[in-house]
């Protein structure tokens, strides 16, 4: 057969995909069973929707679900517009050196690991010795134990994320801006448009398609909160606002002395189904606007 060699190349990647992606998908059936390791997935008894019902009726459900949604919405609301604003603003810097420096420095935090990012955040916010509290002290304010106050958790999460990613996320918009037709700007200048006017009437309409695509993508990934970061920032004092679905799955499924595999898998499946629904809906919207995501 012609091209058989191409199929032999695919064997290894497909084997990986089957074992580490599709077998776990099959493994989600334990959400409907009482999984006992000794009896295997197939040998464990079916229990239907018990694990789902128990989760929906538990006092944790409302809290965990609400935290997940509000954290995701907060992040989108703050984290989405800022890179666009940064790109628009950078686009009007004419000094090439200044522009390059800003790009270089604002991209850098993107490569800091999540552990180090949380480490930096915690050192900065430490009561007494952290930089933020020292600066607050200079203004005569009392030291605040930020990480211990549940009300601050989401803000710290979102703002540290902005600090890390605002630069890198602006790359895509900067590229889109460089594609805006320069004759439009020339015409606008001829007509006496100020820079602010040009930004509003030339640049923003020019990059709106990209903004729409990125927004739809962000909606599709709405449920994908930086779970590893939340887990690191979590402590017993802020658990009330920091427990999201993913961390809850981890905490009951793998962390406890008696791992509740089935219950955790059920909650994970519940979340993944919502995520799938959001992604498919987002893509359908994207297709309607003429830009499919794949």
């Amino acid at each position: 057969m012609k091209g058989w060699q191409l199929y032999t190349l695919l064997i290894l990647p497909l084997a990986y995909l089957m074992i580490f992606k599709y077998v776990p998908m099959y493994g989600t059936v334990i959400a409907f069973k009482n999984f006992v390791a000794a009896r295997g997935i197939w040998g464990s008894e079916w229990v239907g929707l018990v694990h789902f019902e128990r989760f929906f009726h538990s006092y944790q459900f409302g809290r965990v679900f609400r935290n997940t949604l509000t954290l995701a919405a907060y992040e989108l609301l703050v984290g989405f517009p800022l890179p666009i604003i940064l790109a628009l603003s950078l686009n009007y810097v004419r000094n090439a050196f200044f522009k390059k420096s800003i790009q270089m420095i604002t991209y850098a935090p993107h490569f800091i690991s999540v552990v180090v990012l949380v480490g930096i955040t915690m050192q900065m916010l430490q009561p007494g010795t952290g930089a933020v509290n020292i600066v607050l002290g200079l203004f005569g304010m009392d030291s605040i134990h930020f990480m211990a106050i549940p009300e601050y958790f989401k803000t710290i999460y979102v703002l540290s994320g902005v600090w890390q990613n605002v630069g890198f996320a602006s790359i895509i918009y900067l590229a889109a801006l460089s594609g805006v037709d320069p004759t439009l700007h020339e015409a606008a200048v001829m007509d006496g448009a100020s820079k602010l006017k040009r930004m509003w009437h030339v640049d923003i309409p020019g990059i709106t398609p990209i903004i729409v695509v990125m927004f739809i993508l962000a909606m599709g990934n709405f449920m994908e909160i930086g779970f590893e970061k939340v887990l690191l920032m979590q402590n017993p004092l802020n658990l009330r606002t920091s427990e999201i679905i993913d961390t809850y799955v981890f905490n009951i499924g793998l962390k406890g002395a008696v791992p509740q595999y089935s219950a955790a898998a059920a909650i994970g499946l519940f979340k993944n189904l919502i995520a799938l629904f959001l992604l498919v809906t987002a893509n359908r919207l994207a297709r309607r606007s003429g830009t499919s995501l794949w």
Binding site: Q5, L6, L9, L10, L12, P13, L14, L17, F20, K21, V23, P24, M25, Y26, G27, T28, I30, L86, S89, Y92, V93, F98, I105, T106, Y107, A108, P109, F111, I112, S113, V115, V116, V118, G119, I120, Q123, T129, A131, I134, G137, I171, I172, A175, S194, K195, L196, E228, L231, L232, V249, F250, G253, L254, Y261, A264, A265, G268, N272, V280, W294
Partner: protein, 298 residues
């Protein structure tokens, strides 16, 4: 041309000033934490504990760095991380190219079906627990392979490589190769790979940074401390605060140790981030390129 046509209007000059001011402010906000960490790491522990360091180093010492390099866990963490990043990235790149090249060929029968198999895993996953059970069933728990094999391929990077192949390897090139009796293996090895330096660099960098920064898989899959990557060691020290000096009886000694512990954290942040930050300026353009290719439609 009149003078006024060249000179900017007052509004534009105000705009420029405000724009530069805001960007300058952003620069300060981004740099300040980094500068503060570096300053604290070379200050004396007394100054750090007393909260005297807020911008520049106070009573400079290298105590913190001594403590970092005296710690065996940190050393082994570094070594392990180099191993995971090196071996892991090599396997990642191989598996990625093996998938990306055939899928870039428009004459591959069933291409759409295979693509769907790959892309579907981006949309839906079995989730944490079932994946953990698979890794466990394969006997990978508590071995180095647990950090390498379960993440052997990122579909996202595969799509980036595939897009690159589609746009740079022309069908004329393939036809010319086939005309000269080149089979698919030979074509991939002798023609495609030599033309793909930039894309291999991009995906290798993405994978390597991913391995270097990963802690979660190590946390769930590994028990043996001698296998811990740096990030997991960092987590224990920076976040779980697990440098245990609590058995100290002497109060003065306790305070001193407490100070070293704080200092150690700052130095550790610097030491662990340094490898990436040193390489970063040279490879920045590849990351930007990767972002751009990734945003193209496949």
């Amino acid at each position: 041309m009149s003078k006024n046509a060249i000179r900017e209007s007052k509004g534009d000059r105000v705009f420029d000033a405000a724009n530069h001011l805001l960007l300058g402010l952003l620069l300060i906000i981004i740099i300040y934490p980094l500068l503060y960490i570096v300053s604290a790491s070379i200050s004396s522990s007394e100054a750090v504990i007393a909260g005297e360091v807020w911008l520049w180093p106070v009573q400079p010492t290298l105590d913190g760095y001594m403590a970092v390099f005296a710690n065996k866990m940190i050393w082994s963490g570094f070594m392990n991380s180099f191993y995971y990043a090196g071996v892991g990235t090599l396997i990642n790149v191989i598996v990625t190219l093996l998938a990306a090249y055939p899928l870039s060929r428009t004459d591959l029968f069933g291409r759409g079906f295979f693509m769907l198999l790959f892309v579907f895993t981006m949309m839906f996953s079995g989730g944490l627990i079932p994946t953990y059970l698979v890794v466990k069933a394969l006997g990978l728990l508590d071995t180095r392979w647990a950090l390498i094999i379960p993440t052997a391929l990122s579909v996202w990077n595969m799509i980036i490589a595939r897009t690159y192949f589609q746009t740079t390897i022309s069908s004329e090139l393939l036809e010319a190769g086939q005309m000269d009796g080149c089979n698919d293996y030979r074509f991939l090895w002798s023609i495609v790979l030599p033309l793909s330096g930039p894309i291999i660099a991009v995906i290798a960098l993405f994978y390597a940074v991913g391995h270097w920064n990963q802690y979660f898989h190590a946390m769930i899959y590994l028990r043996d401390e001698s296998l811990f990557p740096l990030q997991l060691v960092l987590r224990d020290i920076l976040i779980q605060n697990e440098v245990d000096f609590s058995a100290m009886s002497d109060a003065g000694e306790l305070v001193r140790r407490q100070g070293i512990r704080e200092l150690l954290k700052y130095s550790l942040i610097v030491v662990s981030t340094l490898p990436i930050m040193v390489v970063y300026p040279f490879v920045q353009k590849y990351f930007v390129k990767g972002m751009m290719i990734g945003s193209l439609k496949g």
